[in-house]
Amino acid sequence: MSEVVLRGRAITRRWGGVIAVDNVSMDLARGEVHAVIGTNGAGKSTLINVLSGEIPASSGTVELLGADVTRWTQPRRARAGLGRSYQRNTVFEPFSVRENCRLAAQARHQRPWRWWSDASRCERSVDAGLRAARRAGLEGVLDRAAGLLSHGEKRQLEIAMCLATDPQVLLLDEPLAGMGAEETERMLSLLDGLREGHAILLVEHDMDAVFRIADRITVLVDGAVIASGVPAAVRANRDVQTAYLGGPA
């Protein structure tokens, strides 16, 4: 039985009168890819934002590696091992790929008071950044400005920056967004390779990809969980079929 690294319990998030996330509970275990799917507006992004700490939950708790992090800010959770990638690229466009990864890795060893030491000579962040870049398949473009990368490469960089801090949990928001077939393949094999040692929560719209790679799937409709389990079970689930997959298969 794998270790549960991230646990959300009865998470609810309200905006004024609207309930964006309705009593959602979920577990994320090491070595598994857990996909969250749902129609637009189903609350997937809000859920991820609550888990990552960008917005507070109206009620419910979030546990990371056993600790209650419900009140922790996002940077604090990140330092504790929670990595996050965004649907829209948040890479540093003016910097090189190398610097992008190095800067992200620097979050682990910040030491800002050493104002005299050149950052690019800081071995730890340089090495960690390089490792992450290589893992994401970006060796060929290390010295290119991130803004000049192709869309697929930018998505890879987004993942690389996530990996640079050596997180235990990865919250990935639509990593395949806007990708063509070939790029999707590359990203999927990258994600597959990351499975070991990490717990991955994946929000995605690409159903084929989701059913290929996910170990477990949770389906959200109007902010509430209507099904959760292995892909085969979810696919066979009546409610999911009507609400989301468009009628019985």
Binding site: S52, E54, T73, Q74, P75, R76, A78, R79, G83, R84, Y86, T90, V91, F92, E93, P94, F95, E99, L103, A104, Q106, A107, R108, Q110, R111, P112, W113, R114, W115, W116, S117, D118, A119, S120, C122, S125, A145, G147, L148, M161, C162, A164, T165
Partner: protein, 335 residues
């Protein structure tokens, strides 16, 4: 200006040499003018850190400049000169404290609020100087005695004389420049750059951005304070106008004028803008109309920003990467 380090180092060395040799043939007015330009260059550098590097558009830099200047005048005893060794740090420290106060409240605001709040807080300082006994009113106050610059009994420089003060100011400018250059490529500096480009990503990676921004704000305020100290010693007179938003607006203009968005860009902009002001003030060219020099300056600002959004250098450097590289506001709209 090229990006290659040896070439840039050569340029900087040449500029330093030129500045060092200038007093030999500059004449009294020239030395006075260039000294003032150097003081403003330091002020511009302080704002470059905040606006250019961190992306916080502060419209209140004049407050730190003025507070330090006032502190120099107020802290100097009537009977004997103070030593710059304690006077300067004290004045700079006071500027830093106000920066801490201003920063802690304004950094929590976003976008346009930040501009308005920093402007408002600097006006607060202006009113304290203008209306309360602490400030001495709109007439301003005179520095009773120029501080001494001695070490182990030796007078290192007579700060009341033009030439020694010129070299003192040059030394301070070079030191501030060097300090900021080192700071900006340190981990702290790179983190600040990251915050400017994408604060969200920085937070997602694990950087608590508020302390970084606050630290930058305080450092910027203290560097502005250094300029204020030099100004007070040089002019021997301070008045509330030092804290007016005219000064803040002028410095903001200086850093974007050259469009290089770098430390040397700020220094160049300070010199260029000062020359421009002198041009418009010149009675030789404009005769009687010269008293309305603000008109020329205002029109120049409008035209410069309108036509050259990336400053004068925008003309010369149009490659896409360079465009990506530094312009902090490019395409970013605050909510």
């Amino acid at each position: 200006m090229s990006d290659s380090p040896p070439l840039r180092a050569a340029w900087i060395a040449a500029a330093l040499a030129a500045l060092a040799l200038f007093p030999l043939f500059g004449g009294k007015f020239g030395v006075d003018l260039v000294t003032k330009m150097m003081v403003f260059a330091i002020l511009a550098l302080s704002l470059e850190l905040l606006v250019g590097h961190v992306g916080l558009v502060c419209f209140g830099q004049a407050a730190f400049f003025g507070i330090a200047a006032y502190a120099v005048v107020r802290l100097t005893p009537q009977s004997q000169p103070a030593s710059i060794w304690w006077l300067a740090p004290a004045a700079i420290g006071l500027a830093g404290i106000y920066a801490l106060f201003m920063g802690s409240l304004s950094i929590r605001t976003r976008g346009v609020y930040f501009i308005m709040v920093t402007l408002a807080f600097s006006q607060m300082a202006y009113y304290v100087a203008h209306d309360t006994p602490l400030g001495g009113g709109s007439d301003g106050i005179y520095l009773s005695l120029v501080p001494t610059f001695r070490l182990a009994g030796f007078e290192l420089a007579d700060l009341s004389k033009a030439r020694p003060f010129y070299y003192f100011a040059l030394f301070v400018l070079a030191s501030v420049f060097a300090f900021l250059a080192v700071l900006l490529r340190s981990r702290f500096g790179r983190a600040l750059a990251g915050i400017r480009v994408n604060e969200r990503r920085m937070r997602a990676a694990g950087f608590s951005t508020y302390p970084y921004k606050l630290a930058a704000f305080v450092i910027s305020g203290m560097v502005a304070g250094i300029a204020g100290v030099l100004f007070a010693v040089k002019d021997g007179f301070v008045n509330p106008e030092l804290m007016s938003w005219n000064v803040s607006g002028t410095v903001l203009m200086m850093i974007i004028l050259c469009g290089l968005w770098s430390l040397h860009g700020a220094v160049l902009g300070a010199f260029a803008f000062s020359l421009l002001q002198e041009l418009f003030k010149s009675q030789a060219i404009f005769g009687d109309f010269a008293k309305h020099w603000h008109l020329g300056v205002g029109a120049t600002i409008i035209l410069a920003v309108a036509l050259l959004p990336r400053g004068i250098a925008g003309f010369a450097f149009s490659s896409r990467v360079k465009a990506l590289k530094h312009y902090p506001g490019a395409g970013e709209r605050y909510e």
